[in-house]
């Protein structure tokens, strides 16, 4: 809660200041909202309206044609099936990658905070570097490795890459969360004869819901929004939606259809926006937790 006392007697000056304060906040809000509103308006206009109108002029009729075109028949690079197949690719990449990296992160965090062994702290520190390196440093070796493993240009390959470079973050999240669990709890359970996995499953997992939510949301957003790995490691049919969107927007043949571009961009942003709207609290928590250490 805020502790800054607002003056008890509101003088004229205070009132004026507060009006100014609200004005600034609302103008800034307009700045943040404007691009999205323009995208939405543009996606609902036809090409002629776009040519004659301005960014903020309203469409004469609600026209969803560009949305269906973006979804199912717009040309992205070579093929003309809209962005829907790539949207599905993104889900095929994101769902397993989020599930695996979260599970691995939970187990790692559990070991690092409650089953320390010689070198586990050192290893954790070494692993944190993985949160920071610019991925350009690993792109080429990874491309070679994916080729050797026979999963170059496949969705499995992308799942693999996202898991490998996601576990540093997921481990960090779970480790920080499990730090607050007293070690005596594990000790007592061990004396009662409970094993490694029993303790994890019976004692640790039931209290982990908040951190699981934070981690899943963080990973979902990161992987869905990824472009670098997508463009470097995907094949023609396995591109994630971000890559397809970029191809669609930069496709040079034919007249430019900004309404279709904008509809496609909104479609590509919808899943993460939905997560943000429905679970914003956890999203912010992940962001700040990631920032404190990463």
């Amino acid at each position: 809660m805020s502790n800054k006392a607002v003056g008890r007697k509101t003088s004229g000056l205070d009132k004026a200041l507060r009006v100014a304060l609200y004005t600034v906040l609302l103008v800034v809000a307009a700045f943040y909202l404007m691009p999205f509103i323009v995208m939405l308006l543009t996606s609902l206009k036809d090409v002629e309206e776009i040519r004659t109108g301005t960014l903020l002029s309203l469409p004469a009729t609600l026209n969803f044609e560009s949305w269906s075109k973006a979804w199912s028949s717009a040309c992205t690079g070579g093929s003309c099936g809209g962005i829907s197949p790539y949207f599905m690719n993104s889900f095929q990449i994101v769902l397993p990658a989020v599930a695996i990296s979260t599970l691995v992160g939970a187990l790692n965090g559990y070991v690092i905070s409650l089953w320390k062994f010689r070198g586990s702290d050192f290893f954790f520190a070494a692993m944190l570097v993985g949160c920071f390196i610019p991925f350009q440093v690993i792109l080429l070796p990874m491309a070679q490795t994916l080729g050797w493993l026979g999963i170059a240009n496949t969705t499995s390959g992308l799942v693999f890459v996202h898991v490998v470079y996601g576990i540093a973050f997921t481990t960090l999240f779970f480790r920080n969360f499990y730090q607050s669990i007293p070690g005596e709890l594990v000790k007592a359970a061990r004396l009662d004869g409970a094993g490694f996995f029993t303790i994890f499953y019976r004692i640790i997992l039931p209290v982990s819901t908040p951190i699981i939510v934070v981690t899943v949301i963080w990973q979902f957003t990161q992987i869905w929004n990824d472009f670098l790995f997508g463009v470097a490691f995907s094949g023609f049919d396995t591109q994630p939606v971000t890559v397809a969107l970029n191809n669609l927007v930069n496709t040079s043949f034919g007249g430019k259809e900004y309404n279709v571009d904008m509809a496609a961009a909104i479609i590509a942003a919808l899943p993460t926006l939905a997560v943000y709207v429905f679970a914003g609290k956890y999203f912010v928590r992940g962001l700040t937790a990631g920032a404190v250490k990463g």
Binding site: S2, P35, A126, V137, L140, F196, T272, T288, G294
Partner: protein
């Protein structure tokens, strides 16, 4: 911190001294093993691999004919790289400075018992949930001179309004700044707001009792105590700046010409489309150097600070 002391030398934390090691004692190590292997190979191993490649004459395929520092020499004689590097300086500097300024200011403003604070915060932060590709697509449309903001202002009656930064080689890098600030400043605001809420309330009350004005309280007490938040925001922002790749790809594609290239885009282009693997690897190593130059002092001060507590 005492866990660390207890841990060194005494093997497993639960030092019940079992006579024989059972499977359960190995379980933690077995569970961690895949992560250890993957980290050693895919982070450290690949880093070394790229470093090695940067000293070879590799072109389309990796080859191992060593050429010393030739690639680095070529890199710094390459005009496109120098443009990318100076763009990173301009882009990174402005992006970080503006985000920090906006972030602190908005956080302080929002901390004044604002009605509908939650709604406003949600609006400020939503760009962070969106991909840089979507951000780039949106701003490319807003900033394009034929149909975008320029036309809107002209139609509003400002007939001489000109805004062609997106196609102007001298100004295009500022378009990157605008879009990136739009995306990330709300996040910085959230960081500082969380920091403000964590400031000790008694301290502020005491200052008020001593007759300090709100302005003085902020300047002398609240802001100085936010130093850690400031540093982590700085690290995160510089990290975003150095890694920026998607925004350029979507907003300008490096153009006009290569006027808006950033190092990440240079690396990608030379490694994957121009078959200059050696040169691309050298550029990746320079990027890594930049990140380490920021990170090492930060981690060092973090760890030292912890030890003094």
């Amino acid at each position: 911190m005492n866990t660390k002391a207890a841990n060194t030398g005494s093997g497993p934390t639960q030092s019940g001294r079992p006579a024989r090691l059972s499977l359960a004692d190995w379980m933690p190590k077995i569970v961690m093993a895949p992560t250890v292997i993957v980290t050693l190979v895919c982070i450290y191993g690949y880093m070394i691999w790229t470093a090695v490649l940067s000293f070879t004459g590799s072109r389309m395929l990796p080859s191992y004919n060593f050429v010393g520092f030739d690639q680095y020499e070529r890199l710094f004689n390459n005009d496109r790289w120098m443009v990318a590097l100076s763009n990173l300086g301009i882009f990174g500097g402005l992006f970080i400075a503006i985000c920090l300024f906006l972030g602190v200011t908005l956080a302080i403003f929002l901390d004044q018992k604002i009605r509908a604070e939650g709604a406003i915060r949600t609006i400020y932060l939503y760009p962070m949930a969106i991909s840089f590709i979507v951000t780039g697509t949106a701003w490319k449309w807003l900033l394009n001179p034929t149909n975008g903001l320029e036309k809107m202002m002209v139609d509003f009656g400002f007939e001489n309004f000109k805004f062609d930064w997106l196609i102007n080689p001298d100004m295009v890098v500022y378009c990157l700044v605008i879009a990136a600030v739009w995306q990330a400043s709300g996040f910085v605001m959230a960081l500082f707001l969380a920091g403000l809420r964590g400031v000790d309330g008694d301290l502020i009350k005491a200052a008020h009792l001593d007759g300090a004005s709100t302005f003085t309280t902020y300047r002398r007490i609240i802001l100085p105590s936010l130093k850690p938040v400031f540093f982590s925001a700085l690290v995160v922002l510089s990290h975003i700046a150095i890694k920026s790749f998607d925004l350029v790809a979507a907003l300008t594609n490096g153009g006009p010409g290569y006027a808006s290239d950033l190092p990440a885009n240079f690396m990608y282009t030379y490694t994957f489309t121009r078959s200059q693997i050696g040169l691309g690897s050298a550029s990746a190593m320079v990027m890594l150097g930049c990140v380490l130059a920021i990170l090492v002092p930060y981690l060092y001060s973090e760890l030292r600070g912890k030890r003094h507590e």
